[in-house]
């Protein structure tokens, strides 16, 4: 007999399975959607690479990180990641000195350009990384420093 609890457990398992083979439909984007908790808790690049199960990153001029030189307010810092290289699977945005390094990760399909941007919080001036995970296993990155200034009256 199926109890309600079983049904929930079952659907979560199915969702996880679908997610693992990239078949998760939007309608099912719920508790079961893939989320790499370990990656979002990583404090540094080594931990992040381990949590993601990917190769060590190498700097590349083919990857671009966008962001302001100076942010007037660390609560909202516009940042972007892009690359002109073909075969990108994922783009990551990292803030080196945040409590957890990984801010956002985007899965890139053939239907979109490898060019995403968002806004992130920065506790202090820090390097911001754009990381591209390539189909061939290469992990490429670009970085730039963003200064966060102290604004207002400070009161």
């Amino acid at each position: 007999m199926h109890t309600r609890r079983d049904a929930i457990f079952h659907s979560a398992k199915v969702a996880a399975m679908l997610a693992s083979i990239g078949l998760l439909p939007v309608a099912a984007l719920a508790q079961g959607a893939a989320y790499n908790t370990a990656a979002f808790e990583a404090k540094n690049m080594a931990d992040l690479v381990k949590a993601m199960g990917v190769n060590a990153p190498a700097e590349s001029k083919d990857v671009t990180v966008t962001g302001p030189d100076i942010a007037e307010n660390g609560a909202v810092v516009p940042v972007g990641a892009s690359t002109t290289l073909p075969g990108v699977k994922r783009l990551l945005l990292l803030v080196e000195k945040n409590p957890a390094m990984l801010a956002a990760m985007f899965d890139i399909t053939d239907a979109i350009e490898a060019n995403v941007s968002t806004r992130v919080k920065m506790g202090q001036s820090s390097n911001v990384y754009a990381v591209a995970l390539m189909a061939d296993g290469k992990v490429l990155f670009a970085l730039k420093e963003v200064k966060v200034t102290l604004g207002g009256c400070g009161g």
Binding site: L29, A100, V120, K121
Partner: protein, 103 residues
């Protein structure tokens, strides 16, 4: 219930720029209220984008994404009249789906 998103999808040639604003606290779980109590983490974790019902992008976010998140991406081959759908789910299981027409 969560507030509606604001989605703009503008086509230029064969590329469509999609800009999304979401209403969400994106609480980090590291801040304290005036009584010194930690405000629990509350943030969007999964985002998905569809073009005419076909998934074109998914994303995972951490609490470092700013409050009332904005994000932008570029869809290839979309044209005016196409439907762009964005969905998100947060760490409490709250979710929201909104749709916009490419112009």
């Amino acid at each position: 219930m969560a507030d509606p998103m604001r989605i703009r999808a503008q086509a230029a040639g064969d590329k469509t720029t999609v800009r999304v604003l979401m209403g969400h606290e994106m609480e980090t779980g590291q801040r304290k209220d005036s009584a010194g109590k930690v405000i629990p983490a509350w943030y969007i974790r999964n985002v998905s984008a569809q073009l005419n019902g076909k998934e074109v992008m998914t994303a995972q976010w951490g609490p470092a994404v700013s409050k009332n998140p904005f994000f932008q991406f570029v869809v290839k081959g979309a044209k005016a009249g196409d439907k762009v759908t964005i969905s998100w789910v947060d760490n409490k299981g709250d979710k929201r789906t909104d749709e916009a027409t490419v112009s």
